[in-house]
Every structure is written in C-alpha cells, then in structure tokens.
C-alpha cells in the first residue's frame, strides 16, 4: 500500500485535486477569483510535492512503472500547468465554467502522467485517450466563438482517426509478437515485415500527437480556434509528455528496429523543421504563428531523438523544460493582449514597446529563447538537441538543422521588429497586468534567463538517466 502511494504520488495528487474541484462545483459557493487563487495554490503545492520521495518501481504487473527520471518529467509538466494557471488568469476568471476547465485540464494531465509511466500497450492506449479527449473539450471552451467549436471538431475527428490507426497498430503488434507488455516486447522484436508494418502505424499515432509533418494539418486550425490557455497546454504540456514517452518507446521497446526508425526520424525531422518554418514565415495571426513555430521545434526534438538514448533523453527533457518557459512566455503575452484588446495579429503589435515595455520584453525574451539565441536558455536547449543528434555522426542533419535555425530567426525577428521598430499611429494602449499574470511572466523570464546558465540542472537530468 505504501508502495502504491509513493510510486503513484503524482497521479494521486492530481486525482485529489480533480475531486476537490468536483466538490467545489457541486457546492457552488465560490467566486471565480477565489477559486482560481485556490487552484493556483493547489497546483503550486502539487508541483512542489512532486519533487520529494521519488523512487523507482512498478505496479500492477508492470503496467505502471516509475523512476526518478519519470518523476522529473512529471514535475516538468506540473510546473508548466502551474504556469498556465497563472498566465491565463485574466481569461480564466471570466469563463463561467472555471472548475470544469481545470477538471478537464487535470484529467488530460493525469492521462499524460499515466502515458509517461505506461509499461504496457493497453494502458498506453488508455492513457493516450485520456490525454486527448478532455483537450478537445477544452478547445471548445470559447463557447461564443465559432472557430473554437470548429477547432474542437477538427481535433476530435483527427484524434479519433489517429487512435484508430494506433489501435490497428497495437493489434498488429500483438498479432506479430503475442504480447502487449513493453518488457516482453523488447525481446520479441525481430524486424519481420509484419512488425515493421505494425510499428509504422504505432509511429504515426505519435506523429499525430507531436504534429510531425505530414500529420500536422490539424495543428494550426486547432491552435487558432482554441482559447489561448488550451492552445498553450496543447503545444507545451501535451507535446512534452508525448515526446518523453516517444523516446522511451523507440529505444526501450522498438530498439530492435533502430535501422528503420532512424531514417524515418531523420527524414521526418527535416520535413518537420522545413514545413514548420516555411509556413510560420507567412503567418499573421500570432497563435497560428506560434503553432507553426512549435511544429518546427518538434523537428529539432526529432533530431535529438535520432542520436542515442542517453543524450536524446537528457537533451529533450532539458529542452522541454526550457520550451515551457519560452513558449508560455510568448503565449502569456499574446493571451493578455488578446483578452484586453481582442488583437491577435502581428501587425497589431507594432509599436508595442512604446506602450507596454514589460510585455514587450517578456515576449521578446520568449521569442529569442525559441529562436535559440544566447544568453537565453533556448540557446543551450537547442545546442544540446543538436549535439545529441550529432552523436551518430550524421552531420548533414545538423547542417540542415542549423540552417533551419536561421530561417526561424527570420520570423521570430519579424515579431521583434514589429514590437520594437515599426511605427504605429494607434498602438495597443498600456495594459494593466494583474499580479498573478505578472508573477507567471516573471517566473518564465527568470526561467529563460537562468535555466541555461544553471549547468547543474542539466547534469542532474543526466544523473537521473544513468
């Protein structure tokens, strides 16, 4: 029993919060503002509690396993969720269904935790569904907006489709190997054509979740239509979680097919970076812009994964942590501006620096970090991704990635130029940023500045893998 509690600590904490929120919903006695503060405090405590008493072990006949590394990955996601609750406070306060939003969000998070911890294809599938379906409901949360429903519809249809493919893949895997447990699968993989076919289906489900080209078509529309809180959850937390389990699945389960998926990864990485970047160049809407930029970022993650397990995992965990700070900083500013003025276009940001220097610097820091420019943490994150990718000696991939960094700099600078350089007759008026949002932004900014220079953190992540 104590095993159960310590090993499943992360999941249990989230479940407790979900139940608390359910009771609050029934009780109906709370104002939105107080409730939001309560949720923020709970999530903060939850994030802190995640760092203690992390052991390795498995439960339920190896269906669920955890280790300090897995716990750290969950902690990273916890931090991201806490930041989301801070940054999008202005919008959250106004939504009439605040408890539901967080119940859905935390259910999805619970799904992701189980996903990272899964040791069996069955629980893997269940967790993936749990991590997806609530998000589709969250995408529909701007009830007044048509686009929101459209985004949700697209998301639910395409994720149903990808689930179908995944299930098909899983059944083929079972047919080819006779087992669904990860531990036994490793020994059964021998590269027979049926296994390869099954693997390709399995792979494409990941590709859909990570919006790897050519499975990315849903991304931009869903991102644009959804409320920004949902968009940021999708692009940061959900991607991070899937990236974590993706590496584990590739190396720990399908390691025997390395020769096959290495080339798939390399080619898809190039396609993903290029497509994300080239489409991001032309975007006017800041949400679509960030959507395509996040597609490009996934391309870089794929580069790292193609290297080897140790370097790939450490650099991806490190990068996702940095990515949470950077991307949430950008989304946070976009959310504040959209909430107060309704403006979402990059052209509207012209002259922002004159009126809102604080927001401008936060956004600029976030974008510089996404572009990988020092001294921001994004520089170290990107470089370690590329270093990990170079482990196998495939330097052409690194050259392409390097050139993609140049392309991406072009469009990130387009926003920076609009903020700092372009003149505007009627810029966005000075915006009062509420205290909790400001706190979130400051945490993001500090994270962007110091995560890279705190080298011990990266060493710590590496020590978890060994």
């Amino acid at each position: 029993m104590t095993d159960f509690i310590t090993l499943m600590k992360h999941e249990l904490l989230i479940t407790v919060i979900i139940f608390l929120l359910l009771f609050v919903k029934i009780g109906k006695g709370m104002k939105n503002e107080n409730l939001l503060t309560l949720i923020q405090v709970l999530l903060l405590l939850n994030a802190i509690a995640g760092f203690f008493f992390n052991e390795s072990g498995s439960l339920f006949a190896d269906m669920f396993y955890t280790s300090p590394l897995v716990a750290f990955q969950k902690n990273v996601l916890n931090i991201g969720v806490y930041l989301i609750s801070l940054l999008f406070g202005d919008w959250l306060k106004k939504t009439p269904h605040l408890p539901e939003f967080f119940i859905l969000l935390l259910s999805a998070l619970l799904g992701m935790f189980l996903l990272i911890s899964s040791g069996n294809l069955l629980i893997f599938y269940l967790a993936l569904e749990l991590a997806t379906i609530p998000v589709a409901a969250m995408a529909n949360f701007d009830l007044a907006k048509k686009r929101s429903s459209e985004g949700a519809m697209k998301m639910i249809l395409s994720s149903a489709f990808s689930s179908g493919i995944l299930l098909f893949g899983i059944s083929l895997i079972y047919g080819a190997t006779g087992t669904i447990s990860f531990g036994e699968l490793v020994n059964q993989i021998n590269g027979s054509p049926l296994q390869v076919l099954a693997f390709v289906f399995f792979f494409s489900a990941f590709a859909f979740k990570l919006s790897i080209v050519p499975f990315h078509f849903w991304t931009a529309d869903v991102y644009e239509g959804s409320p920004i809180a949902t968009t940021s959850f999708l692009s940061v937390i959900s991607k991070g979680a899937v990236a974590f389990i993706f590496i584990t699945a590739l190396y720990r389960v399908f390691g025997g097919l390395y020769e096959i998926w290495y080339w798939m990864l390399a080619v898809l990485a190039v396609l993903t970076m290029l497509t994300g970047n080239l489409f991001a160049l032309r975007q006017q809407n800041i949400k679509r812009f960030l959507a395509f930029s996040s597609i490009a970022q996934v391309g870089f993650i794929l580069v790292a994964i193609s290297g080897n397990y140790t370097a790939g995992t450490s650099s991806v965990v490190y990068f996702v942590l940095i990515y949470i700070f950077s991307n949430l900083a950008a989304f946070g500013v976009a959310a504040v501006i959209a909430e107060k003025t309704g403006k979402e276009n990059i052209d509207d940001y012209k002259g922002l620096y004159k009126t809102n220097p604080f927001l401008s610097w936060v956004l600029a820091l976030g974008l510089f970090s996404l572009a990988g420019i020092p001294p921001t943490a994004g520089f170290f994150g990107k470089l370690f991704l590329l270093t990990a990718g170079a482990e196998k000696g495939n330097f052409w991939l690194i050259i392409i990635a390097g050139l993609n960094m140049v392309i991406s700099l072009y469009y990130y600078l387009k926003v920076v130029r609009a903020i700092f350089m372009d003149k505007n007759e009627n810029p966005i008026e000075p915006i009062q940023v509420s205290a909790s949002v400001k706190l979130g932004m400051i945490i993001c900014a500090l994270g962007i500045v110091f995560t890279g220079l705190a080298g011990k953190l990266f060493d710590y992540i590496q020590s978890l893998i060994a």
Partner: protein, 492 residues
C-alpha cells in the same frame, strides 16, 4: 588578474544602466562603467607585460576555469595571450568612444546604452574564452544587440539592413556550430582550445572542418563574397553601432579565423590557403574600387572596411609568421581607425544632417577640429607612415613577399595596388568635404564639436598614433601568438 572582472564589469554596468532613473544618470553610469573597463584593460596589459617580463612562458596567462556543464564538458575557461589582450584593449577604447559620441541620443537612451554595453560584454567574453562552446556563446550574444541597435536607432533602410545582418551572421554561426561539433566528436569529446591544440586530426577531417569554421567566421569578418551585410549594416547603424560593428565585430571573425580555424586545423589552413588568398585579394581590390563609386560617407568607410579587413585575411592566407603578425596588427589598427572614421562621420552628420559628399564642402571653416581628425584618419586609412595603417599593412606585405612563388607574388602586388585606389577615394572625399568652396552656409554655422566628441576622438587618435609611431609594443604583444600559430602550421 581575474579575467572574470572583464565580464562582471560590463554586466554590472549594463544592469546599473537599467536601474537608472533619468537620461543623465544613464549616460554617466555608462561612461563610468566604460572607463572602468578601459582602466581594467590597461591594467591587464601592464600585468600581462609584467608576467612576460618575469619570464612566464605559458601560452595563456591568467587562466581560470569554472565548470558549467559536466557532460558535454563545457567550462568557462578563460585565459589571454597577446592577441586577446590587444583585442580587449581595442574593445574598451571603442566602447568609451562609442558612449561619448552617442552622448546626445534622445530616443530610448537607457536601452541604447544597455545594448551597447551588452555588445562589448560579448566581445570581451569572446576574446578571453578558451572553450569553443563558450566562445560561440559570446559570439552569438552580440548578434541581437547589433540587430536592435541598427533596427531601432539606425537610419535609411534600417530594418532591411538589420535583418540582413542578423540572418547572415546567424548563417555563419550555423556553419561554425557544425564545425565545432565535428571537432568535438572527432577530437576526443573536448571543447577546450588548449586540449584541442594537442590533438592532430587526420587530414581528411581537417579538410572538411576547416572550411566550415573559416567560412563561418568569415561571414563575421566580411570574407568575399559573404561581405554583403557590411555596407548595409554599417551605413544604417547609428554612429556608435557602426563603430562597434566595424571596429570590434568584424574582428571577432578575424580572431576566430586565426585562433579557431587556423590554429586548431593547420592542415586545413594549408589546403585552403590559396583560396583564402584569392578571395581576400578580390575583397581588397573590389572593396577599394567599390568605394570609389560611393557618394555617402558611411558607405565609403563601409566598403573601405571590406577592403582593409581583406588585408587581415590575406595575411592569414599567406601562412608566414610575419604575415600573420601583420594580419593581427591590421585587426587592431583597423579597429581603432575605422571606429574613429565612423565617429567623425557621425560628428559631421550631426551638424550637416547629410552624409552625401556632394552636399558638403569647406567644412574646415566651420569645424576645424573634426576636419583635422578626419584628415588624420583618412591619411591613416591610405597608409601614411607614422600612423597605424602603414605599420600593419606594411607588415602584411612584407610577410606575403616571403612566399617566393609567382602566385603569392601576384596576389601581393594586386593587393598593394589597392593602396593607390585608397589614396584616390580618401583624398577625393577629404578634399571635397573639408576643403573647397563652402556648399551650405548652415553647415558652417553649426559650429565645431563638443567636449564629449573631442574626448572620443582624442582617445582613438592616441591609439592610432601609439601604434603608428611606436609599433614595437604591439609587435611584442602579438608576435608570440604568431609564432605559436606558425609552429602549429609547420608541425612543430
């Protein structure tokens, strides 16, 4: 001396600037910080010479190392040799002068000085780093301040220029990054320059890595045909920005070409030396002739920078000790000279509000001090003995001539010819602007330069004269580095 001071001082200055309340405070804080850095770098020079005089023959002095990451091993490994000391000195001179000439900047003063000091911070860090990763880090640190300085405070097609500069420099960085990673994985998983210099890579690898690194750093130092950001960037930047771009930033590339590409990959350098010579000879001549066609003072100096920096690259390509020595001297000398040149152009522009040579004339009557400085710096640019340009270029030519075969001789002679062209465009510009009939009476009425501009001009002039009249101190500083690089090339 603890080299961290060279990073801490600008960092503290930059932070202090951020917390200032009004313009006056900002300016004085920045100036005091810059002067402190100047003092530091002079002290560094003295201590360095003292150590050397005491017989310390270590290649790098004042070495320190602070671990940043364990795996991959990345350390803040600092240390200086003569070349670094000279470049640090140059940076601090240009920073003080840059702050002084921007004294009257009205628009976003605080941000301007913050970025300017950040730029200097990047340069200091770059020059003292002995770890390739950290070196790369500091190289990149300086890209965004440049972009913002040009884009916000610039003139003309500033957004276009800023974008072009940032993207081209990032492109160069991408090449450098791949080169560094290749080095790292093939030379025993190390980023440390001192360790890497003990490793001799196979010829084939060197032939692959060298061009990546050299081209990458070449973008920074305007290697033909990757120089196209220079004219636009220099001419659009605000005065202090141009001073920094031409005076320091281009030297980062030259320093990298020497310290990283040539020093670590001698076989690669030998393999591609001829190509470097051809490209730099083209740059020298093309730059000179292109300058002839320019009518805008800033474009004149920008293109002439391409030509002058070509001498540095030519010296590197020649692969003789004297030539490499000359290349380093040219880096220092051109840094001071071009910074002063841009400073004077800024002074003229502030008063005449034009940079077109045709719209000016007889300015000597109105601003004798500025014009005198303009004269001197012009003469330095065309290589008059007694000024820094002559010493550096002469050394490059002497070193080049030591290669006795036809190819090297032809290249040397071709490069020498550019001096004639330089004389034509410099004298023409000075003649038109300073002498001749007065074109616009308003220009004369605008008055001469103020104390801050005088001060800026004087410290840079002092640099030019110190190198021109008594080059021995600089030579003593640089020649050990040249010798070490040559030893590496000759395989000792």
């Amino acid at each position: 001396m603890n080299l961290l001071l060279l990073i801490a001082t600008p960092l503290l200055t930059a932070l202090a600037v951020l917390f200032c309340r009004n313009q006056e405070q900002v300016k004085w804080t920045a100036l005091v910080g810059a002067l402190a850095q100047l003092v530091l770098s002079v002290v560094l020079l003295l201590l360095y010479n003292q150590e050397r005089a005491a017989g310390n023959t270590m290649q790098m002095l004042f070495e320190e190392s602070y671990a940043l990451f364990n795996n991959p091993p990345i350390n803040f490994h600092f240390g200086v040799d003569g070349l670094s000391v000279a470049m640090i000195l140059l940076t601090s001179f240009v920073l003080v002068a840059g702050i002084l000439v921007s004294w009257n900047i009205e628009k976003m003063t605080k941000e301007f000085y913050f970025l300017l000091i950040l730029l200097a911070l990047g340069a200091y860090g770059f020059f003292i780093s002995l770890d390739l990763f950290i070196l790369f880090f500091f190289l990149e640190v300086s890209v965004i301040p440049k972009y913002l300085l040009i884009g916000i405070w610039g003139s003309g097609r500033k957004e276009y220029s800023a974008n072009k500069l940032a993207l081209m420099l990032m492109g160069g960085s991408a090449l450098i990054l791949v080169g560094i990673l290749l080095l790292y994985f093939n030379a025993g998983h190390s980023f440390d320059i001192t360790e890497l210099s003990q490793v001799t890579l196979g010829n084939r690898l060197q032939h692959i890595i060298f061009p990546l690194l050299f081209l990458g750093f070449g973008v920074f130092t305007a290697l033909f045909p990757l120089h196209t950001w220079v004219p636009d960037g220099h001419s659009s930047a605000p005065t202090a920005g141009s001073m920094f771009l031409a005076g320091i930033s281009m030297k980062l590339g030259g320093y990298g070409c020497l310290r990283v590409a040539t020093y670590l990959l001698p076989e690669g350098a030998k393999q591609y030396a001829d190509i470097i010579i051809v490209l730099s000879a083209i740059a020298i001549l093309y730059g000179a002739f292109a300058t002839m066609m320019q009518k805008d003072l800033k474009y004149i100096n920008a293109y002439s920078s391409v030509s002058h920096v070509g001498f540095s690259l030519l010296g590197i390509g020649m692969l003789t000790q004297t030539a490499i020595n000359g290349a380093m001297m040219q880096m220092v000398s051109h840094g001071v000279m071009t910074a002063l040149f841009f400073a004077v152009i800024g002074m003229i522009y502030d008063r005449t509000h034009t940079r077109q040579v045709n719209e000016m004339g007889g300015l000597m009557k109105g601003m004798p001090f500025a014009m005198t400085v303009f004269f001197i710096v012009g003469l330095c640019s065309l290589g008059l003995p007694g000024l820094s340009g002559f010493v550096a270029e002469m050394t490059v030519f002497m070193g080049s001539w030591q290669n006795a075969d036809t190819f090297h001789r032809v290249a040397t002679i071709a490069a020498c010819m550019s001096i004639v062209v330089t004389a034509v465009y410099i004298l023409r510009a000075i003649g038109k602007v300073a002498m001749g009939p007065v074109v616009n009476q308003d220009h004369i009425a605008a008055g001469d330069v103020k104390w801050n501009e005088k001060f800026a001009a004087i410290i840079l002039l002092a640099g030019i004269l110190a190198i021109g009249i008594a080059p021995q101190w600089l030579n003593k500083l640089l020649s050990p580095t040249a010798e070490i690089i040559m030893n590496r090339i000759n395989g000792h």
